[in-house]
C-alpha cells in the first residue's frame, strides 16, 4: 500500500493543482448532467429481457381500463337515479376536453336501437348450430301462428308505426338471436344502461370513462388533471360525489408524500449530522469529508448517463442515498490521519489497506446486482460501483491533503488505554457477548417467518382515501380490472379471430361464467362463410313450407300476401361479410378498442375470465397449446414477481457472500480473522431480516438493495476492526466506525420517519441492519480479539 504513501508525498506540495483539477472535473460533470433527462417509469423496477414476468407485464399494460380514467359518481341514499344521471351529464360536460379525451358516460340512447336495427341483419353470418335449432323450433305451425298474432297486436299499438318495417323483415323474431352475441361483450360486470348511460345495478353509481394524454408517471400533469377534475366536480349537487380512479391520483399522492417525507427526513438527518459533527469532529476541515459523497455522486451519475440511453429516476434517487455510505472511506482516512501518532504517509499506507478492501467488498456486493433481472437494479449497481470507486480514490488520493493538521491523542491518554477496557472489566466483555448472542438468537428464531412480497402497489403510497375509492368502484361495478386476460395474437385479423374462436370453444367448456369475449360477435371470415352456407342449406329445406304456412296463417289475420316480402328477400340475398367496420358503424367502437388491438406485428384479441388460481392453472396448458395465445393472471403476476425477487435475493446474497468471503480470505488468510470480520455483516443481516419478521413486515424490492448495502457496510466494519486489531498503528477505527455507522443511521435511518412505504421500508431495514452491525463491530469483535497497544 506504499502506492498511496508515494502519491501523497508527490502531491503534497500541489494542493492548488488538485483543487483546480477537482473543480474542472465537477464543472465537466455539471455541464454533462445539465442535459440529463430522468425517466420516471416503473418499468425500471420490473424484470426485462425474456422473462415471463416481463412478458406478462407488457401484456397487462394492454388490458381494458388499464390506461383509462375511471370516474365513479355516487349518489347518497334517497337520490333518484335520474338526478344522478343528470349530475353525471353535467360532470361530463364540465371535464376539459384537452385533459379528458373521448369522455363518455354511456354508449348513448341510440346504441340499442342501432344494434337492433342493424345487427339483426347479420344473423346468417352469426348464427351457430344452436341458433338454427332454436329457429327450427319456431317454425312449428303453432309457434308461427302465435308469433303472427303477436305481430298483429304490436302493429295495432302506438309503437306499431316504428315496428312495421322490423316485422316485415323479421316476422318471427329470429334477429333477437344476434343480441345474445352481445352478452359476452361487457367488461364491466355490474353495469346496466339507463337512458343510454352507465348505471350500477343498485342505481347509486354512474360511470365516466375517458382517455388522457397525461402519462401516469407525470406528477405535474397529474396535478393539472386532478385540479381540473376537482373544479369540474364542484358542480355536483349535494348528495352526489365523484371520485377519479386511475394511476394519476397515486402518482400525485406519491410525489407529494415523497416531497413531504424528504423535507422531514432531510431536516432530521441534517440535525443528526450536525449533532454528530459537534460531538465527534468539531473542525471545519471535516467538511471536506462530507463533500466526498457529492463528488462521487456526480461522477457516478456521469458514468451511468454515458452508459445508458435512459437513466431511471428511481435509480438516481436511491443511488444518491446509497452513495451516502462513501463518506465512510473519508471518515476512516480522516480519523487515521488526524488521530494517528505516526507520519501521515505511513498512516495513509496503513489505513489504505482496510479502506481498499472495504471498498472492494462493497464493489463485489454491488457487482452481483449487475446480473439482476431488473434493469433498475443493474443501473443502480453500475451507479453504486462507480460512486464507490470514485469515493475510495478521492479518499486516499485527494482527501489527505485537505484535512488539516494531525491531532493525535495525548501520550498520557494512550497509556490509560494500554490495557483494553475488556481486560480491565471482564464482566463487561461477557455481558456484551451475552447480549449479542441473545439478539442473534431472537432474530434467528423469527427469520423463517419472513416472507417476500412482489406486489408493486405495496411500494407506492396509497392513502386511505385512494383505497376507499378503489373499493367503492369495485363494489359498485364489480371487478373491472382484476380479471385474468387471454391475449390471442395473429399476423392478421383473420388468424387472430380464428385462434380466438378456438380459445372461446375451450373457455365455454371450462369456464362458462364471467367471460368476456369477442368470439360470439366477431367470428372469422372462414367461420362466417361456413355459417352462411349452413344458413342457406337450412332455408333450402325449410323455406317452401314456411312460406306456405305464413301465407295461410297471415291471411287469417288479415296480412297481405306481400306483407313479409322483405323477410323472403333477405333469405334470398343474405349479407356476405361482417366485421370491424360494421361493428364500429353500430356504435361498438369503444368496446372493440378494449378487446381488439392492432400494431405493426398484427392483431391481438383480448378475452377476460375470472382470475381464480385453479381455473388459470387448468386452462393455461390447454390455452397456450394454441399458437399465439397467452394467459396472464394479475394475481399470478404478483406471485411470479415475488418469486423472481425471492430468487434474485437468494442469488444476490449467495453471490455477494461468496465474493466477500473470497476477498476476506485474500485479505486475512486466517479463519479466525475471516470469521471475526464477517460478524458485523452476518449479525446485521440477521437482525435486519429477523427484525422485519418480528415487526410483521415483508421483503420487497428495496429491501433487497438495502441488504446489499448492509453487506457492503457490515463487511467494511469487520475489516476495519480486524485490521485495527492487527496493525500496530492506531487508526482510530472504532471511532471512525461509530461515526460512519451513526452517519449511515442518521442518513438512512431517518427514512423511518417517512410516510412513503418504499422510503420507510429502506429506512427500517437499514436502521435494523446497521444498528446491529455497528455495535457488533465496535463491541463484539474487540470482545473476541481486543487490540493491544
Amino acid at each position: 500500500m506504499n502506492f498511496f504513501a508515494t502519491c501523497y508525498r508527490k502531491l503534497e506540495g500541489r494542493r492548488r493543482w488538485l483543487l483546480i483539477g477537482l473543480s474542472l472535473l465537477l464543472l465537466f460533470c455539471a455541464v454533462q448532467l445539465s442535459q440529463l433527462k430522468l425517466e420516471e417509469n416503473i418499468s425500471a423496477l420490473l424484470p426485462d429481457g425474456n422473462s415471463q414476468v416481463a412478458f406478462d407485464f407488457k401484456l397487462l399494460q394492454q388490458a381494458p381500463f388499464a390506461r383509462k380514467l375511471v370516474i365513479n359518481i355516487s349518489a347518497a341514499d334517497g337520490i333518484d337515479p335520474q338526478q344522478l344521471l343528470a349530475a353525471s351529464d353535467a360532470l361530463l360536460a364540465a371535464l376539459p376536453a384537452e385533459l379528458f379525451h373521448n369522455a363518455i358516460n354511456g354508449p348513448g340512447e341510440k346504441l340499442g336501437s342501432r344494434l337492433l336495427d342493424q345487427l339483426g341483419r347479420y344473423l346468417p353470418l352469426l348464427a351457430e348450430s344452436a341458433d338454427l335449432e332454436r329457429i327450427e323450433d319456431q317454425l312449428a305451425p303453432e309457434a308461427t301462428r302465435r308469433l303472427l298474432q303477436q305481430d298483429l297486436a304490436q302493429l295495432l299499438q302506438p309503437q306499431g308505426i316504428a315496428l312495421k318495417k322490423q316485422i316485415q323483415r323479421d316476422p318471427l323474431g329470429f334477429e333477437a338471436l344476434t343480441l345474445q352475441k352481445l352478452r359476452y361483450l361487457n367488461p364491466v360486470p355490474e353495469v346496466r344502461l339507463e337512458r343510454g348511460r352507465f348505471l350500477s345495478r343498485d342505481g347509486h353509481n354512474s360511470l365516466i370513462l375517458a382517455d388522457t394524454p397525461i402519462a401516469i408517471t407525470d406528477s405535474q400533469g397529474s396535478r393539472r388533471l386532478l385540479e381540473a377534475f376537482e373544479q369540474a366536480r364542484q358542480l355536483l349537487p349535494p348528495g352526489i360525489s365523484a371520485e377519479l380512479v386511475s394511476g394519476h391520483p397515486y402518482t400525485l399522492a406519491n410525489a407529494s408524500t415523497i416531497q413531504h417525507d424528504m423535507s422531514r427526513v432531510l431536516m432530521a438527518s441534517g440535525v443528526g449530522i450536525l449533532l454528530l459533527f459537534v460531538l465527534f469532529l468539531r473542525s471545519w476541515k471535516t467538511l471536506t469529508v462530507y463533500l466526498l459523497p457529492l463528488f462521487s455522486f456526480a461522477l457516478a451519475l456521469l458514468v451511468v448517463s454515458l452508459c445508458y440511453a435512459k437513466v431511471s429516476g428511481i435509480t438516481v434517487g436511491f443511488g444518491a442515498v446509497l452513495l451516502g455510505i462513501t463518506i465512510d472511506f473519508g471518515l476512516h482516512v480522516y480519523f487515521a490521519l488526524r488521530r494517528g501518532d505516526a507520519p501521515r504517509a505511513e498512516l495513509l499506507s496503513a489505513v489504505s489497506r482496510p479502506v481498499l478492501f472495504g471498498a472492494l467488498t462493497s464493489l463485489a456486493a454491488f457487482a452481483v446486482l449487475l446480473r439482476s433481472e431488473l434493469p433498475g437494479q443493474r443501473q443502480l449497481a453500475l451507479f453504486a460501483m462507480t460512486g464507490i470507486a470514485a469515493a475510495v480514490l478521492l479518499a486516499l488520493l485527494v482527501l489527505p491533503h485537505f484535512i488539516g493538521q494531525s491531532n493525535p491523542l495525548k501520550r498520557g491518554t494512550r497509556q490509560q488505554f494500554k490495557r483494553h477496557v475488556y481486560d480491565r472489566n471482564p464482566w463487561l466483555r461477557n455481558s456484551v457477548l451475552l447480549l449479542w448472542l441473545l439478539v442473534v438468537v431472537l432474530a434467528g428464531v423469527k427469520l423463517p417467518q419472513l416472507s417476500i412480497n412482489g406486489d408493486l402497489r405495496r411500494l407506492s403510497y396509497q392513502s386511505a382515501t385512494l383505497q376507499q375509492n378503489e373499493a367503492a368502484l369495485s363494489r359498485a361495478w364489480g371487478n373491472m380490472r382484476g380479471r385474468a386476460l387471454i391475449f390471442v395474437r395473429g399476423e392478421n385479423l383473420e388468424i387472430a379471430l380464428k385462434r380466438n374462436e378456438q380459445v372461446w370453444k375451450l373457455l365455454q367448456t371450462e369456464a362458462p361464467a364471467g367471460l368476456v369475449s369477442l368470439a360470439p360477435l366477431l367470428p372469422s371470415s372462414a367461420t362466417q362463410q361456413q355459417r352462411l352456407k349452413r344458413w342457406q342449406d337450412f332455408w333450402v329445406r325449410h323455406q317452401p313450407q314456411l312460406r306456405e304456412q305464413l301465407l295461410e296463417q297471415g291471411r287469417v289475420l288479415g296480412f297481405s300476401a306481400a306483407a313479409f316480402e322483405p323477410f323472403w328477400s333477405q333469405l334470398e340475398y343474405p349479407p356476405q361479410q361482417f366485421g370491424v367496420t360494421q361493428l364500429k358503424a353500430m356504435g361498438l367502437g369503444d368496446l372493440l378498442e378494449n378487446l381488439l388491438l392492432s400494431d405493426a406485428d398484427g392483431y391481438q384479441v383480448i378475452s377476460l375470465l375470472p382470475d381464480r388460481p385453479e381455473l388459470v392453472a387448468a386452462l393455461e396448458p390447454k390455452l397456450t397449446a394454441i399458437p399465439g395465445v397467452n394467459l396472464v393472471s394479475q394475481a399470478r403476476f404478483g406471485r411470479q414477481l415475488s418469486s423472481e425477487i425471492s430468487a434474485d435475493f437468494r442469488r444476490f446474497i449467495l453471490s455477494a457472500g461468496l465474493a466477500v468471503l473470497l476477498l476476506l480470505v485474500v485479505l486475512f488468510r486466517r479463519l479466525s480473522s475471516i470469521l471475526l470480520a464477517s460478524l458485523p455483516v452476518l449479525t446485521g443481516l440477521l437482525v435486519m431480516l429477523g427484525g422485519m419478521a418480528w415487526l410483521g413486515l415483508e421483503m420487497n424490492l428495496f429491501n433487497v438493495v438495502a441488504s446489499i448495502l448492509i453487506i457492503g457496510l457490515g463487511v467494511d466494519y469487520g475489516i476495519f476492526m480486524v485490521c485495527h486489531a492487527q496493525q500496530k498503528e492506531d487508526l482510530a477505527s472504532s471511532r471512525a466506525i461509530l461515526l460512519s455507522g451513526l452517519t449511515t443511521l442518521v442518513g438512512f435511518g431517518a427514512l423511518v420517519l417517512a410516510e412513503h412505504p418504499a422510503l420507510y421500508s429502506i429506512g427500517l431495514s437499514v436502521l435494523l441492519g446497521i444498528s446491529a452491525a455497528v455495535p457488533t463491530a465496535v463491541l463484539v469483535i474487540p470482545a473476541f480479539r481486543p487490540k493491544r497497544l
Binding site: E109, K110, L155, P158, Q166, S560
Partner: protein, 227 residues
C-alpha cells in the same frame, strides 16, 4: 313479445332521437305564417283545468301490409300528473299503463304482462311523453318537436310536421282536431311515409271524472314479469 315491443320502441327512438338538425332546416318563411299565439293561448286556457280525461276511441289503420283496414276499439285514460292507460279492447286486447316513470304493458294473446321503466326503456318514454303532451295540451313541447300549421280555427285543427329528421323518416305529418270547447283532442290522423295512415277518433270524453288507481293497473294474467 317483450323483445318485439322493445325493438319497435327502440326503432322509433332511433328515428325520433336523431339530432334536431331539422330545426335549422325549417322553412325560412315560417315567420311569415299566421301568428298561432292566440290559438295556443285558447288551447292552453281550455286545458288548464283538466285533472283527468276518460274517453273511448276507435282506431282505423290503413296499412299496406294488410288487405283491409284494421279497425279497433279502445279506451284512453289520463290523470294528473303522469298517469296513463292506453288500451285496445278489440280485436286484440292489449295496451299499457303508466304510473309516473314506470308502468306495465300487456297482451291478451300471449297472456303476458311486463313491467317497464321509461328511463331504461327510452322508446316507451317517448310514447308516454307524446300521449301526455296530447292529454295535457302541452303546446310548448309540441312546438319544440313539430312545425305547426293552423288548418282551421273553429274547431281548431292543426297540422304538425316533425322537426326531427328521425321522426320525419317515419311520419310525414299529423293532423289534430280539437273538441269544440278546445278541452281535448277529438281526432288524430297520422300520415306515414309510404302512404300508410292511422286515424283515431275519441268519443265519450269525460273531463275531470274521478279515476281510481285501479284504472292504472294492468289486467292480471298471472304471468311472470319481463323487464
Amino acid at each position: 313479445m317483450g323483445f318485439r315491443v322493445r325493438i319497435g320502441l327502440l326503432l322509433l327512438l332511433l328515428l325520433v332521437c336523431q339530432p334536431l338538425s331539422a330545426r335549422a332546416a325549417q322553412p325560412a318563411d315560417e315567420s311569415a305564417r299566421p301568428d298561432l299565439t292566440p290559438v295556443f293561448v285558447r288551447l292552453r286556457t281550455a286545458a288548464a283545468g283538466i285533472q283527468s280525461l276518460s274517453s273511448d276511441f276507435v282506431q282505423e289503420k290503413q296499412l299496406a301490409m294488410f288487405d283491409a283496414s284494421l279497425l279497433s276499439q279502445g279506451r284512453f285514460l289520463y290523470r294528473q300528473p303522469a298517469y296513463l292507460r292506453w288500451e285496445l279492447l278489440t280485436p286484440v286486447a292489449s295496451g299499457f299503463v303508466l304510473r309516473g316513470r314506470q308502468g306495465e304493458r300487456w297482451n291478451s294473446l300471449s297472456q303476458e304482462t311486463s313491467t317497464f321503466r321509461i328511463d331504461s326503456d327510452p322508446m316507451m318514454g317517448i310514447i308516454a311523453q307524446q300521449l301526455l303532451a296530447w292529454a295535457r295540451v302541452d303546446i310548448d313541447w309540441l312546438k319544440s318537436r313539430y312545425r305547426i300549421v293552423l288548418l282551421s280555427e273553429q274547431p281548431v285543427r292543426l297540422q304538425l310536421f316533425p322537426r326531427d329528421p328521425g321522426e320525419a323518416g317515419f311520419i310525414e305529418q299529423l293532423q289534430i282536431l280539437f273538441a269544440a270547447d278546445n278541452s281535448h283532442v277529438a281526432l288524430v290522423e297520422i300520415h306515414e311515409i309510404g302512404g300508410d295512415k292511422t286515424l283515431m277518433r275519441f268519443s265519450q270524453v269525460e273531463v275531470n271524472r274521478e279515476l281510481p288507481d285501479s284504472d292504472f293497473q294492468a289486467p292480471d294474467f298471472q304471468a311472470p314479469d319481463h323487464k
